[in-house]
Every structure is written in structure tokens, then in C-alpha cells.
Symmetry: C2
Subunit: 121 residues, 2 copies
């Protein structure tokens, strides 16, 4: 196996090659189609949790963060942390890279910028 392996980003229906701002028109501009709204809601729901927001803020503040460095600051059990990283990764907001025993997480600024754009940015 390869030395470095990117964790799969799960089956979200929007993994176009160019990752940014392709979803939908800004929410402030024109009525959203039902499919656009569902997709955007899915991404926002991934963010709408205090633990995940703090997790993201920790990951985004560092170039890379190991899972084991999250359990302490977030004061949650290991399965809970794993659950939350998965939710954020499925939404494309963070990406996990498995190196040896550890999984290293980093934020996806493009995706976050796309969310801002969808919010009228």
C-alpha cells in the first residue's frame, strides 16, 4: 500500500472536480430550487453543531491536526470524535489523510468559501 492515502470523501452527490461554488445561486439573489436547497442544507447541517464547529476551528487553525489531538479539547469520547470528523468529511469541509496509525485532518478552505458564496458572499 501507498505510504499516504487520502480518506475517501464519501458519497456526496456534489463532488464535481472543481470543488468550489458550483452548487447553487446565492440564497439572497433568487429563489432556490428544491434540489439546491436540499444540498445546501445538508452541508450547513454538518456545520450546525457546536462540537463540529469547534472541531473545525481547531483543524482550520493548524495546518494539520491528528484525531488524538481532538479528544482532549472537545471533551468527547473517541467514537463521538470519529463520528463528527466523518460528518465534516462527508460534507467536504475537512479532509483526512491516513499516515500510519494516525489520521491527519485539514480544512478545505475552498469548500468553506463556497458555503459563504452560497450565503450571498
Amino acid at each position: 500500500m501507498a505510504e499516504s492515502l487520502t480518506v475517501k470523501r464519501a458519497a456526496n452527490s456534489l463532488d464535481a472536480d472543481s470543488d468550489d461554488l458550483v452548487w447553487c445561486s446565492p440564497v439572497t439573489t433568487a429563489p432556490l430550487a428544491e434540489s439546491e436547497a436540499t444540498e445546501l442544507a445538508r452541508i450547513l447541517a454538518a456545520l450546525a453543531d457546536p462540537v463540529r464547529l469547534r472541531l473545525l476551528s481547531i483543524v482550520a487553525s493548524s495546518p494539520e491536526v491528528c484525531s488524538c489531538e481532538l479528544e482532549g479539547p472537545l471533551a468527547k469520547s473517541q467514537p463521538t470524535i470519529s463520528h463528527h470528523t466523518k460528518v465534516l468529511a462527508d460534507a467536504g469541509i475537512i479532509t483526512g489523510e491516513k499516515r500510519g496509525k494516525w489520521t491527519w485532518w485539514h480544512a478545505n478552505p475552498d469548500r468553506i468559501a463556497a458555503i459563504r458564496k452560497a450565503l450571498g458572499g
Copy 2:
């Protein structure tokens, strides 16, 4: 009673007079405090629903929208529409103005901009 009455914006703990971007540091900059994360998650949760996103997009696309104009496009019952407008209003994202029999809704661009800012904008 007065001719025009602004619907109360409910008891959200963040109704500072200046309404914009006072919550928390951008999520991409530094680890969020627990209280900041909880507050931001509450606001994002108000957005993280397809019906509410479409509702907001309709309201934000017009200067003013009446509740009765939402039932049709959103294909939901009247109590459901009322529920969703309340959630968005409690989050400060839209504001309702009651004139006569009708309640007129309009978006709060400052609040939406604050959300973008909290997301690293």
C-alpha cells in the same frame, strides 16, 4: 394599537444593538470557545433546512413577502410555514412586520453577512 408593529425577534441571547458580526472570531482563524460555537451553531441550524433555505431565498429576493405567498411555492401547510418563519426570525435572519391581517417578511442582510463573517469571510 399602532398601525405597524414589528414582530418580536424572540429571546436569542445575542440581540446586541449593533447586530452584525459581534458573535465570534471566524471559524477558520482560531479555536472557538464553547459559548461561541453554541451560539453560531444555533444560527446555522436555523439555516440548515431545505424548506427554510427556500423560504429565505424567496423572502430575500423580494423587498417584502407575505406569509400567504409562501404556502404555495413551499408546498407546506400553514402551521409548518408559520413554524419555519418563527425559527428564522428567532435567529434574526428574517424580520416580520404585521400590518393588518398580514405579516410581511423581509430578510436581514446584516445578519446573513455576519454569518458569512463567522465562516471566515
